[in-house]
Amino acid sequence: MNKELITLRHVMFSYENDEGAHTEAALKDISFSVHEGEYIAIIGHNGSGKSTLAKLMNLILQPTEGELVIDGISITNAPLSDDTILQVRRKVGMVFQNPDNQLVATIVEEDVAFGPENLGLTSEEIALRVKSSLEMVGMTDYAGHAPHKLSGGQKQRVAIAGVLAMRPACIIFDESTAMLDPQGRKDILATMKRLHQEGMAIVHITHHMSEAIEAERILVVDDGVLVDDGTPEDVFRSPARICNFGLEVPQGADLVARLRQKGVKIEGDCLRADDCVREILAFLKGGTFR
């Protein structure tokens, strides 16, 4: 296992209401680690606390209790210096849900340059990073375009390039595919996979199960509690349990689970459609029932 990049130890978080009192905890006693180069999906229904979790990992929020360690820097509820915050944000980038709300400039390449400019890099270095980041997301041809003329998926790719230009070790995608059409979603997923192959740690927060199964590891959050942590196959083994969390399993896995309940002994994991077909055929042709 690679080095730990982000570690949460018994993290609790509750929002403050207008009077300054803490409301019911949005996150309760959460512990897990994100390792270098890992690809994790975090799933949970709306309001389960998964976005709060993302905001903690990027220091938009600080834990109310417990400890958060990011790249060796320990973070508790004590006030942080600006330098520490900047150091963490260089390491962990974040792509948000609404692409319109994260593009700053009126030209694509200027927007990608925004992060490196804040880091105080030289103009030559920024140019280099803008070029390579746009290449990485396949948006080089649009360098001179105005963001509002791009499609949702393209805007989101520009936002990813903007984060990449800061050379982080991990990117958190906070429901970054939720507002996109199927093509845009496919493009973003493909980009995530490519970044993962290049060694970037990816944390993808989503409620599309078909996207979550692309990850190496899935965390399930329900009402502020981390209820499951394992490979996609482990997590989706029991559709009934997943449904209890207000989620669903991919149709293929659902089908196989239903058949198993009826006593049909299909083996193997069936998260992807092709695996599902293969396992059902193996069962039917295997002669176990004839």
Binding site: N58, D100, H148
Partner: protein, 276 residues
């Protein structure tokens, strides 16, 4: 489509005028305006017309586009020239006199040159130098750099520039959103076009409130996103595009200064048809 009306009317291009440094163009347009205001006679105006045409050629901007920038001013020009025409008292015999109106030769010259040609040239020249050939972001950069000495007396120049950039960025988004909200409320039976002033103002509330709410949302989300990209104000921040003067700037700057000098010389040595 409504969102195509982007602010600034920038026409991207590769001409020398496009490549010039925005600072040159901002200062240059001031020089240009000075030259126009200095022009006192027909020849000086003729010279400036030729000079502006040359600028348009250098900037690859077609006359038709320039014409478009003038069109909305038609009535203003008409009224201004009327006032000049009737109010100018000449020294010679009146050309025409009826009822309470007298028209002198000077009146005609003033109407044509001072109100029409001068205003048209001012608008065309500044469009050519600034809005048509300079992208809004370059313009903001230019203004920020030009004003940066003011930072010493604690004028938040960087913050102003950043605000301008973000405003420019969000104008199309907000136009699109307004359009969408209006459609949604129309579908719920909102009527924006009938009734008196108060009724109409009231009918707009269901559009304005959601628009405010979403603007605040945009602002808050954007602030978070900017912070996540390590934004911490102008201090320690570098620039991707460093403004650099090149040969083009020398040429354009020289040309404008020569134009100003030429106008002064013409005023002095060709004092024919002085209108001022």
């Amino acid at each position: 489509m409504i969102s195509d009306i982007t602010l600034g009317q920038f026409f991207p291009g590769e001409s020398h005028l496009h490549k010039a440094d925005p600072r040159t163009k901002i200062v240059g347009s001031i020089v240009y305006m000075a030259a126009i205001f200095c022009a006192k006679n027909v020849f000086a105006y003729l010279f400036m017309i030729l000079f502006t045409a040359m600028l348009a050629m250098v900037g690859h901007i077609r006359i038709r586009l320039l014409w478009k920038s003038i069109k909305p001013l038609f009535f203003v020009l008409l009224i201004m020239s009327m006032i000049n025409l009737f109010a100018t008292k000449g020294t010679g015999e009146p050309l025409l006199s009826f009822w309470k109106i007298t028209i002198y030769e000077e009146g005609i010259w003033r109407a044509v040159l001072v109100s029409v040609v001068r205003v048209v040239l001012l608008v065309m020249g500044s469009s050519l130098l600034l809005t048509y050939t300079t992208s809004p972001i370059q313009l903001t950069d230019g203004i920020e750099t030009l004003l940066s000495p003011l930072k010493k007396i604690h004028v938040p120049v960087h913050e102003f520039a950043m605000m301008m950039t973000i405003a420019l960025r969000f104008i199309p988004t907000l136009i699109e959103e307004t359009d969408k909200i209006m459609k949604a409320q129309k579908a719920r039976g909102a009527d924006f076009s009938s009734g008196g002033l108060i009724k109409r103002a009231k009918a707009l509330l269901p559009v304005l409130i959601p628009l405010f709410v979403s603007s605040f949302q945009h602002a808050m989300d954007l602030a978070t996103a900017m912070e996540c990209r390590c934004y911490h104000g102008g201090e320690g921040r570098t620039k991707y595009r460093i403004l650099k003067f090149t040969g083009v700037d020398v040429w354009i700057g020289l040309a404008l200064l020569v134009a100003l000098a030429a106008v002064i010389v013409i005023n002095k040595f060709l004092p024919i048809g002085n209108v001022m």
